[in-house]
């Protein structure tokens, strides 16, 4: 079975988008109800910085990939059912 590599990129980007939106809302919650303290601000900044660094590292690791290519997966179960 041929699987386009771009599929994984779209899934990844979709989840990352959700994570970023969720993170921003979480941080807003923490700072809104978090008694506006130094600890809440520091933890929120650390949280966002780690997310950004992780995304940059990931992107630099897969930057040179040809996303238009595909790869094959050998699935014996599917192969058997189609052959029958």
């Amino acid at each position: 079975m041929q699987v386009p590599l771009a599929l994984f990129l779209y899934v990844y980007l979709g989840i990352v988008f959700g994570i970023v939106v969720f993170s921003i809302i979480s941080v807003t919650q923490a700072l809104r109800f978090g008694l506006r303290s130094f600890a809440a601000t520091l933890m929120s900044i650390t949280y966002l910085v780690v997310i950004v660094v992780l995304l940059i590292v990931t992107w630099s690791a897969v930057r040179g990939v040809d996303w238009s290519s595909s790869f094959s997966i050998d699935l014996p179960g599917i192969a058997m059912s189609t052959s029958v």
Partner: protein
Amino acid sequence: MKPEQLHFPGKHPDEVVIFIQRRHWSMLFGKMARWVILMALPIVVVLLLNATSGMFSISEDSVGGILMVLGGSLYLLIVWILLFQDWIDYYLDAIILTNGRIVHIEMRGVFSREVSQLALDRIQDVTIETKGMMSTLFGYGTITIESAGEQVNFIIKNVPEIEKIQSTILMYAKQAPRMGVDRQQPSDPAPSTQQAAPQKPPFIKGKP
């Protein structure tokens, strides 16, 4: 920041915060340790497998390597989010004693929170309970604040320094009817800040 300067959602303009107390730090430590181990686990597994059998090698050309980078990144992001959620749950859960009431904020997830409050002159008794080895070792326990009338009792678990909190709450509860600081009775005259804190409490703790 001193407790008196603390602002929390729903605070009255003339209300003075006496202390704010969160759950014992060991509650947070246990959860954080779990997420840190989960973060390190895949890295350790991949390194071990790579060292022993040579599989899971990451190269720019291999599809397996690309998928592993994407999957690993998502895994770490999700664990990091869960860690932050636990921190929010710990940090935003608090008991706040003011000169008029006790406020208990309980987070139930990021988008759900429960805020209960009890006027000081409604307090009938404060019971503390230390149960179990860890609780005795670290000195935390459960505080039950019994209220008059049909209001439900306050049960707050895993609170450190419960004896001091108990005596502080009882002291302020004893003073409350005389001071007339019950915010739930609008006919009462609003007390001034000076009236609200006539003597130094035996326990002021909390670094919000």
